[in-house]
């Protein structure tokens, strides 16, 4: 295998890894943070069913807020 092929293979593998990490980072950003009057706080990850329902409502609000 020539040096060119190795370089191309490395570039492709690196790109795939980068895309995967970027997509994972994007998913991790989605969350619902709840703050209660007694000072406690709860964070729902975007992957949970409860958070998905709440995030859908939040997206409706964001759509209304943006032209």
């Amino acid at each position: 295998m020539g040096r060119r092929s190795l370089f191309a293979l490395g570039l492709a593998a690196g790109s795939l890894l980068g895309i995967g990490l970027y997509a994972r980072r994007g998913r991790a950003r989605e969350r619902i943070d709840l703050y209660f009057a007694d000072g406690s706080m709860s964070s729902l990850d975007g992957g949970s069913s409860e958070a998905s329902r709440l995030l859908a409502q939040a997206r409706d609000g964001l759509r209304a807020a943006r032209p």
């Binding site: 994007g26 619902i32 209660f36 009057a37 007694d38 709440l54 409502q57 609000g61 943006r66």
Partner: protein, 134 residues
């Protein structure tokens, strides 16, 4: 100290992160907004529904929330019967946004100070008649 509209214009002046905001009552009625009427009503309705549903998640009384999506965040804060919902871009500085929203709620809820009454003009004493003749 100020009304809802003034409080919101102060908010958009001091916070570079807030894109749009609406002040609304606990029953969903819009008090003031930075958006046109129709969109303000839609945002208030969505924020009210989100806050009510989120309030059922925990055992305690919900006071504020942030819904963070990849496109931006929606914040809702409650103070008594008044709520504020605000949208920001992605990954805002949440603490600062909450601080500004709470200050706006306080400003909007504060009763305007009564104007000081003008002092009544001091009564002039009637001039004593001059007894002398000139």
């Amino acid at each position: 100290m100020t009304d809802g509209k003034t409080a919101l214009s102060e908010l958009t002046e001091i916070s570079s992160q807030v894109d749009a905001a609406v002040l609304f009552s606990a029953d969903g009625e819009v008090v003031a907004s930075t958006l046109p009427d129709t969109r303000a009503k839609e945002l208030a309705a969505s924020a009210k529904a989100l806050f009510e549903e989120a309030g059922r998640v925990g055992a305690g009384e919900l006071s504020q929330l942030e819904a963070a999506t990849a496109d931006g965040s929606l914040f809702v804060v409650r103070d008594g019967d008044l709520l504020i919902a605000a949208s920001t871009g992605a990954e805002p500085t949440s603490g600062l946004v909450f601080y500004d929203l709470k200050a706006t709620l306080r400003n909007a809820a504060a009763k305007p100070k009564p104007k000081p009454k003008p002092k009544p003009a001091a009564k002039r004493k009637p001039r004593a008649k001059s007894s002398g003749t000139s």
